[in-house]
Symmetry: C2
Subunit: 165 residues, 2 copies
DNA sequence: GGTTTTAAGTCAGCCACGTTGACATATATG
DNA sequence: CATATATGTCAACGTGGCTGACTTAAAACC
């Protein structure tokens, strides 16, 4: 163990650094996701429902296939969850005007309400972390996470706040 | 929509900023976790096995209850996964010397091997993101993620690299 | 030394949420 | 008209969570 002291073995330090990052991602995601569980339980919903509510709220009029490519699950998996949400009147579907095969998804007022309750807790969690870390840290947080995301998705994600010149 | 331009409605901007952070966390975790799936599939293992292998490798001689508190699952859930890993000779258990009720877990050579293969892909993913974001961004990434983690766990996580003065 | 507490394991059953594969329907497109 | 596309559906299955009840061994307590 003596030769593994940081400073003596740069490779060790690098691996240690990377593992800490991996763990941080695990712990943060674990605790972040947990924030909404209590509310979800009250409505007999699971995390899959939450993700669906979130992204439909975020991308109004999103189509089923677009949603599938965000969630990266099969349409069969989504259909159960989406079925629940439509049945319980959290989400509505309407056929596209230009292409009537597509179903555009939208939150109902009830859907908006629960989505806001759910994301409010999670937003508070992020806000707390942002506040204590500072603006500069937030910029770094975003940069690194964006680097972890697949190339294809990266473009669209970084779009909204950083419109390309 | 006109009155929602950034600069005119700071609350909107703040919520937008927070939602972007939430999404970034989702997308990054999604893609990060996916990195190891191909290898896991070859060995007929799932992500739960991976998490167990990872944390046992990271905390040699960890006890079952310590592992449970990291993973935040029940012992019944862990027992299946752990049972597989012991049966396949990825992990060994040995009773503690001081307290013989405790089972200390350790990776076998075969366990070390697969753990390195798995984490290697994920480390490469993090390394790539770190490299492209820069050292300062990495510091911010760590600060923010640490802020998202529950208070109790935060102490132990930040310990290793930042020994308190 | 006997009682209680603790660490771990086990059995049984259940649920959430992912998968594959096959097939149906409506609509758009060439 | 033929083909491709978007969606939905039925069925079966796998993983990985959960609760609840119970056991065993060992430590800790009085």
């Amino acid at each position: 163990m003596a030769d593994l002291k940081p400073g003596f073995n740069p490779l060790f330090l690098r691996e240690e650094e990377l593992r800490q990052g991996m763990e941080l991602l695990f712990y943060a995601y674990r605790d972040f996701a947990e924030e909404a569980d209590a509310i979800l339980a009250k409505y007999q919903l699971g995390r899959a429902h939450h993700r669906t509510l979130y992204f439909v709220g975020r991308h109004p009029a999103i189509t089923v296939s677009e949603l599938l490519s965000i969630l990266r699950i099969t349409k069969q998996s989504l259909s159960r969850v989406l079925g629940d949400l439509v049945k319980e009147d959290f989400i509505t579907q309407r056929p596209g005007l230009r292409d009537r095969r597509r179903r555009h998804l939208e939150l109902t007022p009830k859907g908006v309400e629960i989505e806001r309750m759910l994301s409010q807790k999670q937003r508070a969690c992020i806000a707390r972390a942002y506040r204590s870390a500072g603006a500069e840290a937030v910029e770094g947080f975003r940069k690194v996470l964006l680097g972890i995301v697949n190339d294809r998705d990266r473009r669209q994600i970084e779009g909204p706040l950083a419109p390309r010149p």
